[in-house]
Symmetry: C2
Subunit: 532 residues, 2 copies
């Protein structure tokens, strides 16, 4: 593949060429060459694998201490389950539900036995099969920012979430090849009434994009709507959906040691349908969890094990992911901190725990920065270091997460796409064969020569190295003559170029018709009743 | 130790309290409390260790292929040694020197046997013994930027190197506890005539600071002067200097496959005196080395092995460090690129090679960025990821390196001090004991509570987490009211506060007198003759 072909193949997430698979849906039209040339270079879409041994922060014995302490918490303190149905199920499965309260306590053996049925690896199906993702093993996948209430860019600053920005972020993430799935609403589309927000927002993500997606667990009816839309967009029947995980939902415990009603309904309804639960305690050390990292991890692990146990009680074999989200707070202000040395180590220990239980692992790319400056970059790369060397399978908030999750950033999305692309290249194997060892090239060039003109170089230079999306490698004088631009300005131009070149992925007209009809009917019915 | 005490102990590199050792030289005066309070928080000075298993990018077999190919390069192609004395020594030791040329070829067995005498671990002695560093094993140490021709800060922009800036950078790095040694002139003091530059520049580094330092190998007389100044400042005799490595010099090969005259003199004179050689090929893939990473590493390894062999021929047991500095070029412009995915992997493989030869490993914290923006941060953290997970023992250019080494930055020095401090905290062990597991704290707080007020939290919160130097964790509104500051502006205030609070480390008057006299005499003699 020549360099220009690679550039072309990398655009717009066109999955056909790079994966070598036959895509089921074709683009309606080609893109003119001159349009392509204005777009930044990207690697082709490809799900990466992590070839490196994960970093083990804790010894086997230390890890076991966390495990044993978590089981003790579940046995002696227990957790509050704010749903009677969930409590009844757990009780029938051998847990001890305290009469007249919401407290459930777990026998350690029950937990250890139940979690064994959780699958170590499964496929998360995408609307476009070429974008299917494997969850587990050494596979990894990078998601978008999710759930930010605000959105920001350089031109218009920070503002409340809205559907226009939400849609543009969906389009942008569809265009970015290093973004593999949608991790919730990149920004909350506040201007859609909550009664029907899920219908429109899911409609947007499945019509403007074709990568795997998330739906929020906000009550039974919304769950059913999301499951039905996942079925429709994949063009499959109920039985197929039931055998093929096609949507995921993040379940956050209300730490410490509590699972609230909508979250429990999410587990009950998604697990029953064999869809993916990402069980993620949000255990901020010093706030919702003990101030010691080991203590916060014990709490995280207890809550995760309780949630995973429930998924397997609901349906043995239901896909579930162990989510780690332990960080620390700024003890001066109480503000959550991200990408810290504490975060890095808990991200890695979270991976150790998930591997101990033989389930896929979720971590995140996070930053507390308010601006797309050095801090935004270093907190993100430190997060990625923790996640990748922790053996992450599902990276939430991979692109665009700012301000501790309080805003989604267009420029940060591009910065993160650069970081994720670099991480993907870092995960590429280094070929070591006769050709790569280059003895004859060194013989040709000899002491004191140079390799620019060597045949060995000429034959390889176009594709030898990762090409940056954002980095500015011009010399100082040229850069200064160009006005001393910094990263955010270039990121601003890149996301605009990508949006300008965006075109929606092809969608079978019958599927679109069925989606349109479903959303129209459900909106007509009023969606999900609210009291406002 | 209370939080305030920790803050105080962290200032100015005061090594006494945190290490618990008796410092041999005392400060002349204390520092007032109100001055302390304006200074940013720092960890106490402490040499870190890397508790994590290094990442192995190559398999044992692949690593062996690099090794074998390097030996083949040295045997069949050979290297040019631009000094007759070095060639004679190598010939006497069994190498084959081609008559009438500078080419030397090495028998593989000779190389393998000779390098065995290089020590795996040694101490690099500092002017202040409390700042001694162990090189090797799981010990790591972070150095300053070295050898930049230009210097920059936000106030005065970029300018040619000069002594005033050089001295201020020495003062600043003395104040930064995460900076453990001086890796050459942070910026070249161009305004000192080259005949006497080494005398004044070394005088500055040993009087304004007391951490281990580097001298350049620029001919026999300068080497002798540097060794004598290292002896004087430590207050030891020649025999002690000869048994205690007290200064280091970086030897760069003129890749491909050539060692020039001053570099060879450096090896001959420093190794003969049992001082430290950091043998570092500068192998840019696609320029001075093959375009393939494996090929560039074969060249790096061949040159490193040749240099290490020479150190051991000169003096078996002489301390030597394996330097890895393989990166790639931008194939569009030919400009060197740093902190790339290629850099990360070669940094890690360099560590694998150094461990194979059982010698300490040197890597670097590098960036091609022109401004202290997101790019400067992410290229640096990716470099650190490669270095730390590569098991680096000596991190050159740890703080302040910008623009591919073409300028030293005051604000970048602070950014890097933040990154290095975070890395140090990341390397801290996570305690896992009864207390840290916090079962009783969770019992006290219970489901749905919070830990802010818990006794377990109150007893620990002041020192529980790493405190950032630069990161701004204020909420968006507060941050915006403060004028939406970004990282470089805060870094600017921090280095000024540190310089304002700087005071020189104590120096025995007799030692100062001897240094003064030595420099005066050598300056009087004209230093080292130049032709201008």
């Amino acid at each position: 593949m020549t360099d220009d072909e690679q550039l072309g193949a990398g655009l717009g997430g066109a999955p056909e060429a790079p994966t070598g698979e036959v895509a089921p849906r074709r683009r309606s039209g080609g893109r003119a060459g001159h349009e392509r040339s204005t777009l930044p270079p990207q690697r082709p879409w490809k799900q990466p694998r992590i070839p490196y041994r994960p970093t083990e922060v804790l010894s086997v014995d230390e890890l076991e201490s966390i495990h044993v302490a978590s089981l003790r918490v579940l046995e002696e303190i227990g957790m509050d389950f704010l749903d009677e149905g969930a409590r009844d199920l757990l009780k029938a499965a051998g847990a001890s539900a305290e009469v007249g309260t919401q407290r459930v306590r777990f026998d350690p053996t029950m937990v250890e036995e139940r979690i064994k049925t959780a699958p170590s690896t499964f496929t998360l199906h995408a609307p476009n099969p070429a974008h299917d993702l494997i969850m587990g093993g050494d596979w990894t996948a990078f998601g978008t920012v999710g759930s930010a209430p605000n959105v920001a860019d350089l031109d218009r600053g920070r503002r409340i979430g809205n559907r226009a920005d939400y849609q543009n972020l969906v389009r942008l993430f569809q265009m970015l090849n290093s973004v593999h799935f949608f991790a919730g609403y990149a920004v909350e589309p506040i201007d859609i009434h909550p009664s029907v927000r899920h219908l429109h927002a899911i409609y947007d993500v499945v019509t403007l994009a074709d990568k795997p997606f998330h739906a929020y667990s906000l009550g039974r009816q919304r769950n059913l709507d999301a499951l039905e839309m996942a079925r429709i967009v994949r063009g499959v029947d109920e039985a197929t959906l039931d055998s093929e995980p096609s949507i995921f939902t993040v379940i956050n415990s209300s730490s410490p040691l509590r699972l609230d009603t909508p979250m429990l309904h999410g587990i009950l309804e998604y697990s029953a349908r064999n869809q993916v639960i990402v069980m993620t305690p949000f255990t901020l050390a010093g706030a919702m969890a003990p101030v010691t990292l080991a203590g916060a991890l014990v709490e995280q692990n207890a809550e995760a094990l309780a949630g995973i146990t429930l998924t397997q009680v609901v349906r043995p074999g239901a896909p579930v992911i162990y989510g780690g989200f332990t960080s620390n707070v700024d003890m001066q202000s109480g503000a959550p901190a991200f990408g810290t040395p504490e975060y890095m180590r808990t991200a890695m220990i979270g991976g150790q725990l998930a591997r101990r239980y033989n389930v896929p692992y979720r971590s995140s790319n996070v930053s507390a920065a308010n601006a797309v400056d050095a801090q935004a970059a270093y907190e993100s790369v430190f997060s990625l270091w923790g996640a990748i060397m922790g053996g992450v399978n599902m990276l939430m908030h991979g692109a665009g997460w700012m301000e501790g999750g309080l805003h989604a950033g267009f420029e940060k999305a591009i910065l993160d796409a650069e970081l994720l692309g670099m991480v993907e290249a870092f995960l590429d194997p280094v070929p070591v064969d006769e050709d790569a060892l280059a003895f004859s090239a060194m013989q040709e060039v000899g002491p004191g020569g140079h390799f620019f003109g060597a045949q060995h170089t000429q034959a390889r230079y176009r594709t030898a190295f990762h090409r940056p999306l954002l980095s500015d490698w011009r010399n100082y004088e040229t850069w200064q003559e160009a006005g001393s631009p910094e990263a955010p300005g270039k990121a601003n131009r890149i996301w605009k170029a990508l949006l300008a070149a965006y075109e929606p992925p092809p969608l079978d007209p019958a599927i679109r018709e069925e989606l349109d009809a479903f959303v129209a009917r459900r909106v007509e019915e009023g969606g999900v009743p609210t009291d406002f």
